[in-house]
């Protein structure tokens, strides 16, 4: 009897543990970015560029987001360095004029409205506050999407945070509201939803 209980408990715990470890992995699918992008070479000593050189605001106050190929082509008409990543970029994208289809880690669902200008221009928040150190990174993090909702890991709900899967904070509704509360702001639903 005792042995049976032991075996059952051990098996039970083992499958529980396996499920605990496997579930987050099975919930998310990894998708490849079109090419490996290195922020450090551009924003560090080598490129010496400011974030705004590539991530600018349009005339109407909206955020232009990830730069289009035309803003890269000026420097990368030919490969300047020796790296495979750059050669690949020039051969596969710049020469044929093909726009890389970047996957956006912070991409919000269609019904959410997030404006950069009140945060960056009016409230003077640093990019790092929400995006972590992406602007200084040398390699791209894994881009993971939820198999059910199709949303990136960064905008999924609590569970992702609880399992320590979240990279930076600030992209989920809870995070938005938490920071707004801290700043004494409170918004109606339609302020952030459209």
């Amino acid at each position: 009897m005792l042995r049976a209980t032991l075996i059952f408990t051990a098996g039970f715990l083992a499958s529980l543990g396996a499920g605990w470890l496997a579930l987050p992995k099975t919930l998310y699918r990894t998708e490849a970015q079109p090419l490996s992008f290195n922020h450090q070479v551009h924003t560090g000593d080598k490129g010496n560029m400011a974030c705004e050189d590539c991530h600018s605001f349009r005339e109407n106050g909206s955020f232009a987001g990830i730069p289009k190929l035309e803003s890269c082509a000026g420097c990368h008409a030919e490969a300047m360095g020796e790296t495979a990543a750059e050669k690949q970029f020039v051969a596969n994208f710049v020469k044929p004029g093909r726009e890389p289809q970047w996957k956006v880690y912070a991409r919000q669902p269609d019904n959410a409205f997030f404006p950069h200008s009140p945060h960056v221009k009016a409230a003077k928040l640093k990019c790092e506050k929400c995006h972590g150190d992406h602007g200084k990174s040398t390699t791209l993090p894994l881009y993971q999407v939820n198999r059910i909702s199709g949303y990136s890991l960064d905008v999924m709900g609590r569970p992702a945070g609880r399992w320590g899967l979240q990279r930076a904070g600030g992209m989920r509704m809870d995070d938005c509201v938490a920071c707004h509360r801290q700043n004494g702001l409170s918004h109606s639903c339609l302020d952030c939803h459209k």
Binding site: G61, S62, D110, F113, P115, S117, K121, H193
Partner: protein, 246 residues
């Protein structure tokens, strides 16, 4: 959620529709549908089950055709749709005075439609469908609603979003000025939009020739009408009382 913020002092958006100018062309209705991603009518739709955020009625008074455009009146007091909603899916935003419908919360019971004295609300009986290619023209500032939810005019809230985004880019805060699609599209300039906290605009609503529909209900509508003709005014206010509930 009520709003206790210090960032943007309250605005109270309102609309004045000049019945002596409106010629019933319907441009406002089309502009409204395009702006707010209201799909073309489903083949099975009837006048009762179609989708319209803005309707234009035709009456006869003072020996002429009178056209009456009716958006949501954005009732500011005892807002009927808000008070009956079991889901808290209707929200009167104290910062703008706009009555918002929140599709994420709406369960489609349609109490609000029964409660609305102006029948400004419509129900999605079908999932929206656009003719091939037309989905390319959807407005990214307004999300598409699904079957089983109620929707209505919200004074082009997406344009308000764009306006605060633009103001903030210049470091600005507080109430913003913007123009809803219907007002912009009207070739007769019959629709004036503004903020009641602006005394110049508020004065326009206090003129003797301006009035509101079903004012006596005490729901504080924020759409005003105006006409110089007492006969037109009597016909319009009378018609609003008689409209049968759909």
């Amino acid at each position: 959620m009520t709003r206790t913020d210090k960032a943007s002092p309250a605005a109270h958006y309102a609309m004045i529709i000049d019945l002596d100018r409106c010629e019933g062309c319907g441009d406002c209705v089309v502009a409204c549908a395009l702006e707010n991603n209201v799909p073309p009518p489903n083949p099975k739709a009837t006048p009762r089950t179609g989708l319209n955020w803005l309707r234009v009625f035709r009456l006869e008074a003072a020996g002429r055709d009178v056209f009456l455009p009716m958006p949501c009146m954005q009732c500011g007091e005892e807002t009927p749709c808000q008070s009956v909603c079991p889901q808290k899916a209707v929200e009167l935003d104290p910062a703008t005075g706009i009555v918002g419908q929140i599709p994420e919360r709406c369960l489609g019971c349609r109490y609000c439609m029964a409660a609305c004295p102006y029948q400004a609300r419509v129900f999605n009986w079908w999932d929206p469908q656009w003719p091939a290619g037309m989905e390319q023209t959807l407005n990214p500032n307004v999300s598409v609603r699904q079957r089983g939810t109620v929707e209505k005019c919200n004074f082009c809230h997406g344009r308000w979003h764009a306006a605060i985004e633009k103001a903030a880019a210049a470091g600005g805060r507080g109430p913003v000025a913007y123009t809803p699609a219907c007002s912009e599209a009207c070739p007769a300039q019959a629709i004036t939009f503004g903020d009641l906290n602006n005394s110049e605009f508020a004065a326009l609503t206090n003129k003797p020739e301006s009035f509101r529909l079903l004012d006596s209900l005490g729901t504080g509508p924020k759409v005003f009408y105006k006409t110089a003709s007492t006969a037109v005014r009597a016909a319009v206010t009378g018609a609003a009382k008689d409209t049968p509930h759909a």
